[in-house]
Structures are given as C-alpha cells and as structure tokens.
Amino acid sequence: MVSEKEIWQLLEQVSDPEIPVLSVIDLGVVRGVILEKGMCKIIITPTYSGCPAMKTIEEDIILKLKENNINHVKVDLVLSPAWTTDWLSENGRDKLREYGIAPPENEIDKSVLFADPPKVPCPQCGSKNTRMVSLFGSTACKSQYQCNDCLEPFDYFKCLK
C-alpha cells in the first residue's frame, strides 16, 4: 500500500501547465492528501477563480498517479482557505527567478491609488532599476515589468493576499 509521503513525492513531479518550471507542490495548490478505504483523495485550490489550468492540473495529477499504479484517485477543488502567494515554496521562488519570472515581493496596499508599484529586481541582470508596465500580465497571476538597465521585459508573479 502506497503511503501519503510517497503520494506527495509523486505530486512533486506534476508541473503547473502554465509555468512548467513549478510543480503543483511549489505552487502551493495541493492542500491535502487523504488515503482511506483504498481511495486517494487529493485536495487542490485554484490560484485565481478563473485559472484555466485547474482542469489540466486535475487531469495531470490523476495521470501521474495512474502511471504509478494508483488508480482510485479523486481530486477535490476547495476555495477556502483562499490561495495566497505566501504558499509559494522557497524552492519555487528560486525556480521562478531562474526561469525569468520575478517572484512575489511584499504586497502593495491596493487601497492607495497610484501608489508606487513594488520594487522588483530584474530576474535577468539583478538590477533594481525596473518599472511596472502593467498591473495585469500574460496570466491572471502576473504583472508586466521592464528592466531600465538591461531593457529586458519580464513577468512578475504578483502578490495575492
């Protein structure tokens, strides 16, 4: 009989379909693994309400476990407690940076209009002389930035709390 620990290890091999460098564990979307009566229940939570990757993540989890002869798998989606970027693992943050996406910095106070956006170091050259191009980016979880020194545009994984 497979153990909970082994399931968690297998889930580390399931990657996020939009940011494949992150596993679903790094991303913090797997909230629980429950083994009972020969059933394996995996509890996941979406990053954003409309995240189109959730269905694929569910299918990829089932497939990965099936490849390892774990056939009775159920994936449940829960909304509460709501996902926050605090759940991104340290490991995940490093992987994001290497991949060219700046990991989340401290949150901006969204009630302050026209507040300075967070200072985000460029993942390419490390310069802190960067600017936000747009709060909204290529996916719900990102903003668009550009480095003023190396001029490289980059994604910033924006803070959600």
Binding site: Y48, S49, G50, L79, S80, L113
Partner: protein, 249 residues
C-alpha cells in the same frame, strides 16, 4: 424556487454578464496593456461565475450545473443588474461601469466572508482578493480620465451621466434580499451602499466628475426584466449550445 438559489443566481449572473462584456474588448483594447487587463478581469469574473453558478445548481438540486445555467436559460431567467449588461461604449463607459460595480462588489465580498452559508463565504473570500485589484485598476482609470484632458473629462462625465440611472438598483432591498439578510446569508445592503458612496465620492472628487442632478432611476434586472441589450449578449454567449445541443469540448 428556493431563495438561496435565486440569491446565488443574482451574484453569479452579475459576474457572468460583466465578464462577457469585458471579454468583448479582447483584441480591441485602446492599448495592448489594457486589452490584457480587461481580459484578465473578465477571466476572474467568469471564474467567479463558474463557482457561483455551479453552487446555485447544487442548491437547486435539479441536476443543472454552472454550464447549463449559463447556456440554457432565457433572458427573463437571468437576474443580473442592468448596469452590467450595458454596452461597452467607449473606454470611458467601460471603465466607469467597472468602477461603479467594483466599488459595490468589494464591500459586498468583504462582508460576505462572514455569511452563514459556508460556500458563499468561501467564494467571497476567494473573489475578494481579485476584486481589490479590479477596483484599484478601475478607480485609477476614472481619475485619469476625469482629471485628464478636456476630451477625456467630457467622455468620463458623459459615461457617468449615462450609467448613473442604473446604480440605485444595486441597493434595492426586496423581499429576497431582506430574507437572505435576516438569515445571515447576505450582508446588509445599506452598509454596502454607505461604503459604495464613500468610494464613489472620493474617486469622483479626485476625478473632478459630478453626480448627475437628474435623479431618474431604472431597475428590473433582479426580477428578470432586462434592457434590450441582454438578449444580444445571450445570443452570442449561448450560440454553440443552442445550435449543437449538449456539445462538449
């Protein structure tokens, strides 16, 4: 029809119809960044609609899910606010509409986190984080346009004049609202209206926009009596399911 079902439909339909409206900007935004911003917000709203309508279907218990509620109801069965179905118009209309809605949704979700209905509470908890970003974005645009050039001010003020008549509907406490509030399921709309007014006053002041003197108000969406625009939205939204019943992909 159970009250909880109908109340959840109201919330879900607001998200779905406004999400659809915003998605119409895809490929037509005034600049690329705004195109992406509006479609991002659309995606959040459609995601919220999915959670809400799936839950409404569960509450109803007639084997309808979010998809069947979205794609197979007629206009009279839709319970969204008239505000959210209004046409996109120019960018000023779209952003003022978004601002008036976001300023209402944020305090609504804040308070709904304490709903006695645990599912609505968790949807509110999730959606609130997204709505904060939406409100920041729409507030800043209303200020930029209102306090911008003569032309942008004219357009923003016209947008306010056009849409203001649909705002009183946000706070009508009908039998269903008061029943839900009594049961601790929905928040008190009067408190939300206070918050909304504060936000609108502060942003309009900064934007040098004024609230129209003409106090004529329009309502009906919550009871399924819509403006002529909803039918066109549903025609497009539901086309595939109507043309090819039960199709899936």
């Amino acid at each position: 029809m159970s009250s909880l079902f109908e109340y959840t439909l109201r919330l879900g339909d607001d998200s779905l119809i406004l999400g659809h409206r915003l998605s119409e900007w895809c490929g037509h935004g005034p600049v690329l960044e705004e195109d992406i911003a509006m479609t991002n917000i659309a995606l959040d709203l459609v995601g919220q609609a999915t959670s809400l309508l799936n839950y409404a279907g569960e509450v109803e218990g007639k084997e309808r899910d979010g998809d069947s509620l979205a794609f197979l109801r007629f206009d009279r069965e839709y319970k969204n606010l008239l505000l959210v179905e209004q046409p996109n118009g120019d960018f000023a209309i779209t952003m003022v509409r978004q601002f008036l809605f976001d300023a209402y949704r944020k305090p609504l979700f804040e308070r709904m986190q304490n709903s006695k209905d645990t599912m609505l509470a968790s949807i509110a908890e999730k959606s609130l984080k997204e709505t904060r970003y939406h409100l920041k974005h729409s507030s800043e645009w209303v200020i930029r346009m209102g306090d911008g050039t003569e032309e942008s001010n004219r357009r923003a003020q016209e947008a306010v004049n056009t849409l203001w008549r649909y705002t009183s509907e946000l706070f009508i406490i009908d039998e269903l609202e008061s029943k839900m509030a009594d049961q601790g399921i929905s928040p008190n709309l009067m408190e939300i209206e206070d918050d909304w007014k504060k936000t609108v006053d502060a942003v309009f002041k900064e934007a040098t926009l004024t609230i129209p003197k003409n106090n004529w108000k329009q309502s009906g969406g919550r009871n399924g009596m819509h403006s002529e625009h909803l039918g066109y939205i549903l025609t497009e939204l539901q086309y595939m399911q109507r043309a090819y019943p039960n199709m899936k992909w």
